[in-house]
Symmetry: C2
Subunit: 430 residues, 2 copies
Amino acid sequence: MSRLTSLRSLTSSARSRSGLLVPSHVKNALARQTQARFNSSVTRDPMTGELTSLPDIEVSRLQVIQTDKPQPPPDPSSLVFGHTFTDHMLAIPWAAASGWGAPQIKPYGPLVLDPSATVFHYAQELFEGLKAYRDANGKITMFRPDMNMKRMNRTAQRIALPTFNGNAVIELMKQLIRIDKHWIPDKEGYSLYIRPTFIGTQAALGIAPPSEALLFVICSPVGPYYPQGFKPVALYGTTEYSRAAPGGIGAYKLGANYAPGVMVQKEAAKKGYVQNLWLHGPEHHITEVGTMNAFVVFKHPDGVTELVTPPLDGMILPGVTRDSVLALARDHASGKALIDGMPEGKLVINERPVTMKEVIDASKQGQLVEFFGTGTAAVISPVDRIGYLGQDLHIPVGPDGMGPVSRPIWKQLVGIQTGKIAHPWSVLVD
Amino acid sequence: MSRLTSLRSLTSSARSRSGLLVPSHVKNALARQTQARFNSSVTRDPMTGELTSLPDIEVSRLQVIQTDKPQPPPDPSSLVFGHTFTDHMLAIPWAAASGWGAPQIKPYGPLVLDPSATVFHYAQELFEGLKAYRDANGKITMFRPDMNMKRMNRTAQRIALPTFNGNAVIELMKQLIRIDKHWIPDKEGYSLYIRPTFIGTQAALGIAPPSEALLFVICSPVGPYYPQGFKPVALYGTTEYSRAAPGGIGAYKLGANYAPGVMVQKEAAKKGYVQNLWLHGPEHHITEVGTMNAFVVFKHPDGVTELVTPPLDGMILPGVTRDSVLALARDHASGKALIDGMPEGKLVINERPVTMKEVIDASKQGQLVEFFGTGTAAVISPVDRIGYLGQDLHIPVGPDGMGPVSRPIWKQLVGIQTGKIAHPWSVLVD
């Protein structure tokens, strides 16, 4: 959007702010909401960590301002990730003096911020990413939004932004999705990508906890990550740059973790690889795959299949897909909930450090079964090649681009996400 | 500024955009500018690093839109750092397709950005800080702006933002300062803090080099950091958190380096310290003092005075004040330019690693002379206490709050900055 277009949209959205138009289906939803119990809970002072009596986010205070210029959702096949947004957005202001303000669902439109606002200078910003799905019967669900809200609160604390009632934001996101539900493409593999974002908006250059902040949520209809079936990616093993370090911010979904990776990814691309693999320390520990968590599968001489991912040691983002893959695999291994199509024999699941040397040695001995990344956008992203210290390590993939462990886990996970397999992780929206 | 105020300011600034009012003193300055030689130099593609034929920043394309609502500068004694801004700002848009656009000096007012803009999500942002001074005769100077422009370009490359002609931005900043020069408080120790900022503005959620960006400069009149004379600070030696790591971004003036430090500083404050001292690795190497570079002075048994600062190993911000302190001290030590009041005897200057153990051992043996931080805001900030692993290390300071090496260097440096001592670092503005 050009800046001129933004100015025009602002004018129209400012105009529509004068009227408070709440359509009947939203009124009904609001009534249901108010019946449910929402704590008007207290919040914490970001400077002292002390409890304050200032208001938390409250669903009952929601104001809905419908756009007077609804757009037609585009042809799904034309979608590019994160370029198209729905008609409305959710915005919840916070101020140190008054706590959380009234949530607003309003026409999607530009933010108007002083050029001295904290977010422009000191990366006082964090985000989340999750998806809503529509099944064949029109039922709409979100996948594990509680995990995103917990992480968002943890991340906020790390940069001295205030915490909030995550359940209230889940309810508000449900409202937003209900209003814009016709934007979820009615097509297999498509979904609505939801982007909660939290920024410091104080208009002053001091480096301090901001006295004003804004939590907003925007939604973007997205297509399948691999529209023509899985396409394994080649990774460049990055040893020149580091994504995270002990005592740093690698375990938090902060904006600050992302811009520094762009140039590193571009360098990998110039060398002919699709993404980079972040290798940490002198032993080149495997940490993350670009912006995804990393998984390796070994088949040990005793016949045991081992699914490994690096531990949450402070340098690894606690991914929701990571957690889901681990949980499904553990339930299978323990016999609690078997996954169709998993390899025969004993499966063990370990969160433990893994080095490039171990992966290369396993490959030489024919014990490397697969390597993949996990994340909200791609769900599972198989890897078929790693460029490391001038040599290419080739990793087996099946004819469908996947491996024997990731394939059944992916099928199970996507089944749950899209509502085909009933599971408590799938949260009903509408 | 509240969001409502912002909306109002936007309306007024949008209105004044319709007219192009160039006052005569600016016209004259522009004429001088055009006579000077400015390369219409090429720029580099941030994705490939290749030279492109797209336009660089060109001073001759400057448009000046004067505010129709000039504000009276406030009473200097009421100034709080970074809360007050002058009447105008400089803005230079960039787009991947068309290169750098025409620079604009326009009324200070809000940025209007799509909520999906890269800067809100991935910390695609960087900044600089420098000062302009007015001397007793009304002469206005900037201090070493070339250093800031070089660092700004280096930092831009690190996050895949485009580079630019730094000399052109220096000339444009001079224009901005000339227009708002009555905002520089006419009072000893006061100056105009200049904040060049560079943000990714592309309206899309993909993690990639942005296709649009905005470089802007805002100015804030500021008072002396220590209005009642030097007040030494107490530091908390932070071992739980890390500011930077090898292969990371510590050497770049990225927004991403700042938000994560706010909570760490607040924890130090809760423990009774003013700032934190970042200690790196198992040996607790001294790296930085909050957002300042760190200096230690030892007096060795052989009578040699040693001024030490950690080396630019990729984890240390290459501070302009750091560089200036080193250069002045080296010129003194070599006899090239003596500094009045420096201690007698041999002085050596070293950029080398220094650990807390070395500082503590020196203190025990009476060899620790002083410890201070350097930065644009405070220039030199003496330290009188470091809390480290549960114990307080006391550091000598003189009755004026300073030490025997920092005192004469500070005097020399401030003399150059304020134009009292003629020096090529001081760049004439008006």
